[in-house]
């Protein structure tokens, strides 16, 4: 029943391999002597890449062309950015 014009299974497996490699990399980085700040930046950077892979390929955002949907997807992150800017002084100057 398979049809060459229909989405294949293999590209998803390739993305999964990348995700597992990044999981191994993120866990490995936490044991490296790179300092707390360096480790935090590297580990969260890897988490962000994994999130983009899941969002773009598994959740099909890569092929999403609907502007209203992108607004729904991105709007919470706009609010989060504003919230981070509001609390950042409390974290960095008063903690």
């Amino acid at each position: 029943m398979s049809n060459p014009s229909k989405p294949g299974y293999v590209p998803y497996v390739v993305i999964w391999v990348w995700l597992i490699a990044l999981l191994a990399g993120g866990t490995f980085v936490s044991y490296l002597p790179v300092g707390k700040t360096g480790a935090v930046l590297l580990i969260l950077g890897i988490a962000l890449i994994k999130t983009l892979l899941v969002g773009m390929f598994f959740m099909h955002l890569k092929s999403e062309r609907s502007v209203p949907l992108w607004v729904v997807v991105l709007f919470p992150f706009l609010l989060i950015g504003g919230a981070v800017l509001l609390v950042a002084p409390a974290i960095f100057f008063f903690a």
Partner: protein, 197 residues
């Protein structure tokens, strides 16, 4: 990996260009992003505000959490394959991938239950310190989300045995998949923030 929907009920509405179910799920996920950001933000501010914080690697079972990350990432793969099976009109593979997703979700909760039982045995319970309060709140709320995803996928698996499933309800799999991937994304951030950093 483009969409090739053949489910008439999943047609995009002219007003939004998006099927109702998909738009509804994305709106729900937007509210979930805000909720988890609130929880994680509170956790980060609590950690930053306290002078000392136990090293997670000494208190928590990092190998078990890494195994759980592997399990959840793999379940995201099987969920994505379920959606592809719908688009390819392959019901047998759809059932197989949905079943694997459910089993991997149960495995995740099993490992989490093992972790919790270890903590309880050592007297680490919610209310025994801010570190444990944060740990149980963050992982507990996430675990409830995993359970909700498993129940939804079990219902979907049952529905797939209807002869008209692909024609009338195939888009349910994609909507459920969005939720399942979101739960995976939350864990992608919880794992490093709670267990590694």
């Amino acid at each position: 990996m483009a969409h090739h929907g053949h489910d008439a009920h999943a047609a995009a509405l002219p007003s939004t260009g998006i099927p109702n179910g998909k738009l509804g799920m994305w709106l729900f996920l937007a509210s979930e992003v805000m909720m988890f950001t609130g929880l994680l933000g509170a956790y980060i501010i609590l950690r930053a505000g306290l002078g000392s914080w136990p090293h997670p690697g000494e208190e928590l079972n990092v190998p078990a959490a890494a195994l759980n990350t592997f399990i959840l990432l793999t379940s995201s793969l099987t969920m994505a394959l379920s959606v592809a099976a719908v688009h390819r009109a392959e019901p047998a593979k759809l059932r197989l991938f949905l079943l694997l997703t459910i089993l991997l979700g149960l495995a995740f909760l099993g490992v989490k239950g093992y972790e919790y039982s270890q903590k309880f045995a050592h007297g680490h319970l919610p209310g025994t310190g801010i570190f444990w309060d944060c740990y149980f709140t963050l992982t507990g709320v996430h675990g409830v989300h995993v359970l909700a995803g498993i129940i939804t996928n079990l219902w979907l698996l049952w529905l797939t045995f209807r002869s008209d499933f692909l024609e009338t309800r195939g888009h349910f799999v994609e909507v459920s998949g969005l939720y399942w991937h979101f739960v995976d994304v939350v864990w992608i951030f919880l794992f490093p923030l709670v267990y590694l950093i």
